[in-house]
């Protein structure tokens, strides 16, 4: 049996375009089952026999068609789970999401993400859980610094591309403030201006050395460090527990560990 692998971009739009093209391919070639088609986000190191490889050009319109279909047919909740899976960092996410969507549309099941006994759904669930967990962690552990002009600045190093989900949380919380969240891994900025909509920005260089902090910034940092120190009860000190709650990888960006 011949197999087809479509290679798409790793972004949400890229994966959704891949899904669109996969449906098209199935129809065009008269392929019997979606099981013969796979999505990948990277050229394989070694190509397999009897497999066709094809690269997909990301197309915003096609992606939108797919996302509209998912939201309409499978509901908002499912769309959220699937989009969380798509922003995770795992290489097999595109294939898992693709087959979950296929299954959901075939069965017309808007609770498709509950069918954990299916392998593709299981994998989608794991991807979504990983990025969801990181989103939670960043809501907890992100730290803003106040710049001279009153703007707040935070740097994160996210494994999964959760910045678009992080922005609404802080925009709701700090509507009056100008703030910037910078994801060093993807070099994408999330920007929010006072009482305005937030947006993402790419392709700008940032020189952290040149940031000037407000006069009070250091004092508040010291106050918080002192607070963290004095609320710990000596008789219960437990670094292992602290580590499991607050993984080491977040600490370089956190005030109280600097």
């Amino acid at each position: 049996m011949e197999e087809y692998v479509l290679i798409c971009e790793g972004s949400t739009e890229g994966i959704l375009t891949g899904v669109y093209e996969a449906y098209l391919l199935k129809k065009r070639m008269g392929i019997e089952s979606h099981n013969c088609i796979h999505l990948a986000i990277k050229e394989p190191e070694m190509q397999r026999l009897f497999t066709h490889y094809e690269s997909i050009q990301t197309d915003a319109k096609k992606a939108e068609k797919v996302s509209n279909t998912i939201e309409r047919q499978l509901g908002k909740e499912t769309w959220y789970r699937i989009s969380m899976a798509m922003v995770s960092c795992y290489e097999d996410r595109a294939d898992a999401v693709y087959h979950t969507i296929v299954l959901g549309l075939q069965l017309r099941d808007n609770k498709i993400t509950d069918r954990l006994q299916e392998d593709c759904v299981q994998r989608t669930f794991q991807c979504a859980r990983a990025s969801d967990n990181e989103l939670c962690h960043l809501k907890q552990f992100l730290r803003f610094l106040e710049l001279q002009n009153g703007m707040l600045y935070a740097k994160i190093n996210a494994k999964h591309h959760v910045l678009p989900y992080l922005m609404p949380h802080f925009a709701d919380r700090l509507p009056a403030d100008n703030f910037v969240i910078y994801d060093e891994n993807t070099q994408i900025f999330g920007l929010h201006a006072s009482y305005q909509k937030w947006y993402l920005m790419q392709g700008v260089d940032l020189d952290e050395e040149r940031l000037v902090y407000s006069e009070l910034e250091n004092e508040y940092q010291d106050l918080f460090r002192r607070f963290c120190e004095s609320v710990a009860i000596e008789a219960r000190v437990n670094p292992a527990l602290q580590r499991s709650m607050l993984p080491m990888r977040f600490r370089p960006n956190m005030t109280e560990f600097q």
Partner: protein
């Protein structure tokens, strides 16, 4: 750490400056017990956060409130922990006392009148500035405000009221606020504060009235229960008003909690848990917190200062508390007159299952939610996932593992499609031996079994709260 950081002028009140300053100073002069006005914010914060640390409740859960698009702050029902201190406990709120001056002399308390400790008092503006600036840097989720008793309960609560009023109306803070209710306060004040705060808690302190009389001579059981009842009624009434009028002010919307000190007095687990169950049933409390007694003061009436605090016992109580609130257990099922304390070797749910082997094994594909919850190794989340997943086809052991069921523990108690995972005996001794071999994961490592050696603590409840939307 530099203690003597000079206060920057803008750290002082910014709102209506001249007038505010004199008012704040006026308050301090009025109080003027031992507090000196020359203390820096840093010194005060060090003293007053240190003094508040023995209060265990630091959750920011129980209410979902979107930002209003104008002011700073929102609330998330599951709560958010912003950091974890060296003891592994969550830092969610700016947990401070307004003042550690106190006219009471409770034996177990570090701030009791007869102790010679450094004293300090915040002004309302200092508290507001700290809260706002910590909050906007995402250090905290809100404010936890308690206080020692200055002059008398009503006087103290009025100071707390002034602070909260400022925070909400002058600083326009829309985030989470948890305030302590001091027994014996004028009911009018409790009522007024209730409209400004999200959660209010009155500490029960000790499980029984006798214990309270012995260790906290200035506090009385009745005086503690009165405000609790008032808050409970206020919440019920508030909900009714909210149903009628959309814009009615909400009264203590995140509910009330309390805390009990464990191990300072000789009550059994059964007595403690019965009290907790009573509080949940009769006072509609959201949470009861258990605090393993930490010896600070030398006193005839207290355990020796060198007694290790009973952390494993506290852990078992929290586990049992979880069973009451989320697993639909009643305390009589777990403990009784003859069987007064929890098994130190097994968690309460395993222990219960082993005593009730006649009810096992249960069939995963057919058992109802309540029954699934009672299987060791199946938690709330996995039980929910099982119920959802099995709607679209039978589950096998492999599926269960992926769903998150701890099969090592569950396998003795379940069947999938009529089959057990391995051939096992359904026999108490045999299962106990096997379960014990699979050492329980305690939040304190090494030899968690002899709790005298423990020096470590857990706060798994905080995190369960954080990660599962159980509210």
């Amino acid at each position: 750490m530099n203690d003597k950081i000079q206060l920057h002028p803008t750290l002082k009140p910014t709102v209506a400056e001249g007038e505010q300053n004199t008012e704040s100073e006026q308050i301090l002069t009025n109080i003027g017990l031992h507090t000196t006005r020359t203390q820096s914010i840093m010194e005060k914060l060090a003293i007053l956060s240190d003094a508040a640390k023995y209060d265990v409740a630091c959750t920011s859960s129980g209410i979902d409130r979107k930002g209003n698009g104008r002011d700073m702050g929102n609330c998330v029902a599951a709560g958010i922990c912003h950091s974890f201190s060296a003891d592994g406990r969550c830092i969610s709120l700016l947990k401070i006392l307004m003042s550690n001056e106190c006219v009471y002399d409770c034996k177990y308390c570090i701030n009791r009148k007869s102790n010679d400790v450094p004293r300090a008092t915040f002004t309302p503006d200092e508290i507001c500035e700290l809260t706002i600036n910590f909050y906007k840097r995402n250090y905290i989720e809100g404010l936890f405000l308690s206080s020692g008793v200055i002059h008398n309960p009503s006087y103290t609560m009025e100071l707390l009221y002034q602070t909260l009023y400022k925070l909400r109306n002058e600083y326009h803070f829309h985030g989470y606020v948890h305030v302590k209710g001091i027994p014996g306060t004028d009911p009018m004040l409790i009522q007024q504060i209730g409209y400004l705060t999200d959660r209010m808690s009155v500490n029960l302190e000790l499980p029984t009235a006798e214990g309270l009389e012995k260790l906290a001579p200035n506090k009385h059981r009745k005086a503690i229960l009165t405000p609790m009842r008032q808050i409970q009624n206020g919440i019920a009434q508030g909900k009714q008003e909210l149903a009628l009028y959309r814009n009615a002010p909400s009264f203590v919307p995140a509910g009330q909690s309390t805390q009990i000190i464990i191990g300072a007095t000789p009550e059994s687990d059964y007595q403690i848990m019965s009290v907790a169950e009573g509080l949940y049933d009769k006072f509609g409390l959201k949470r009861v917190f258990y605090s393993a007694y930490v010896g600070i003061n030398e006193d005839q009436a207290l355990p020796s200062i060198h007694t290790a605090s009973p952390l494993l016992r506290e852990h078992r109580l929290y586990q049992a508390d979880w069973l009451l609130r989320f697993y639909q257990f009643r305390i009589e099922e777990l403990l009784n007159e003859r069987h007064q304390n929890f098994n130190v070797l097994l968690d309460p749910k395993c222990d219960w299952a082993l005593q009730h082997l006649d009810q096992f094994p249960v069939e995963i594909n057919r058992a109802d939610y309540k029954t699934l919850l009672r299987v060791p190794g199946i938690g709330v989340k996995s039980a929910q996932r099982i119920c959802k997943a099995r709607k679209s086809g039978a589950l096998n052991f492999d599926n269960l593992k992926k769903i998150g069921v701890v099969l090592k523990r569950a396998l003795y108690f379940i069947t999938c499609n009529g089959k057990m995972m391995y051939k096992t005996k359904l026999e108490e001794d045999y299962i106990t031996r096997n379960l014990l071999a699979e050492r329980e994961k305690l939040p304190f490592d090494k030899d968690g079994m002899t709790y005298k050696q423990l020096s470590l603590f857990d706060d798994t409840h905080e995190n369960a709260e954080q990660y599962s939307n159980l509210y």
